[in-house]
Symmetry: C2
Subunit: 204 residues, 2 copies
DNA sequence: TTGACAAAATGAACAGTGTTCAGTAATTTT
DNA sequence: AAAATTACTGAACACTGTTCATTTTGTCAA
């Protein structure tokens, strides 16, 4: 009974075909331009067919969001060589902000756009997000073990650190930095991060 | 020659008519539902007419964003009675987060939605945003004068503080907190802020 | 009051969007 | 070969923002 297997495989292949098309459109024209009709045209099927493989557009954007997370996760690992926990955390934030500013489209999908959020909520499991968060938390835990952030707990502190860097990137991406002259915005964003982390750098 | 004056006044009245309709729709159905056709129907004019008073939908959302800012600004003033600078700053953040969680629609318009951002960028002046930012900066400056955050500058530090609270609110609103059980998300968000501010509370 | 001009408003048209579903085509099973 | 199942289609629904030729309304001088 290899027929079921083949069918399953063919189904997965078609899903990949759809996702690959979505990815291409996303890269070439931005993810906002990823429409059902455009994907359908790209893969030479009718729009209705796509709904046989994905329940709606949000689910497709959620998959793109996962792909973006994988790229980010790899980027994040570049801090692994740093041994001093606080310096590692500091660099972690820098890498995060740099990724956001360098890959606005991927960042939007991962953390700003509504669609994947709805999927995250309904699926009740967020593997890619969790993996990334765990990596941050382990870094924060190392800091706690080394005597930084006395009296804090790793989970809460990780969320706080994440909020800080996310706030920086998303205010920038959504153009809410009009009080800073245009040419200075990027350095100011990094500067804000450094100021904050410097103020946190003390073994109480 | 009072005719020009009357015309100008009538023009402003019509703009207000449009904005009031937009506001009503926004309050009743959420700002995403504010469409040109819906506004037109509400005020009993044709869709084309709206373009005689606003250059596009973004400009209307930008005006709604300004109205939201005014409400937020008032809310913010509630911290004015606090004399100790750091405690005032701490409460400022709390008020900010509370406003975001209690008024998701207004918050989205102020800080997350793309449309007003485009307007902010093109108009090169952001009165409402600046006013709010200046209020934060003066609070931060008081902290610096009192010996907190040694070695930091008010501008940069204000952006950092703002990023922190914005990060908290926007991760929550865009449902990127799936690692926290649903019922705990809100308290965890406030907890993350308290942890961060506690770690910053030390006169170096 | 009438004719001329300008200003204001219209609404159809353009070019899209996500999603559904009755009907057709292809494949597999009996 | 016929029946049953699965895959796919594409028209239809209900929307969206925006433009622009055309019509309506308002103003003003003759």
């Amino acid at each position: 009974m290899g027929i079921k297997q083949r069918k399953d495989r063919e189904r997965e292949e078609k899903k990949d075909l759809i996702l690959d098309a979505a990815k291409r459109i996303s890269i070439e024209e931005g993810f906002e331009k990823v429409s059902i009709r455009k994907i359908a045209e790209e893969i030479e099927y009718s729009p209705g067919t796509i709904y046989l493989y994905f329940k709606n557009r949000d689910e497709i954007l959620f998959e793109l969001h996962n792909i973006a997370f994988q790229k980010f996760y790899k980027e994040q690992l570049k801090i692994s060589h740093i041994t001093e926990p606080f310096e590692k955390l500091r660099e972690h934030g820098r890498v995060y902000i740099k990724f956001g500013l360098d890959n606005p489209d991927l960042y939007e999908l991962m953390f700003i756009v509504q669609a994947p959020g709805n999927e995250i909520e309904s699926s009740q499991s967020w593997n890619e997000g969790m993996k990334t968060f765990d990596f941050l938390r382990s870094n924060v835990q190392e800091c706690l073990d080394a005597g930084y952030f006395k009296g804090s707990d790793a989970n809460t502190l990780s969320i706080a650190m994440w909020s800080l860097v996310h706030g920086i990137v998303s205010l920038y991406l959504r153009k809410r930095m009009a009080m800073v002259p245009k040419d200075f915005i990027k350095p100011v964003m990094f500067g804000a991060y450094e100021t904050m982390i410097d103020n946190l750098n003390q073994k109480k």
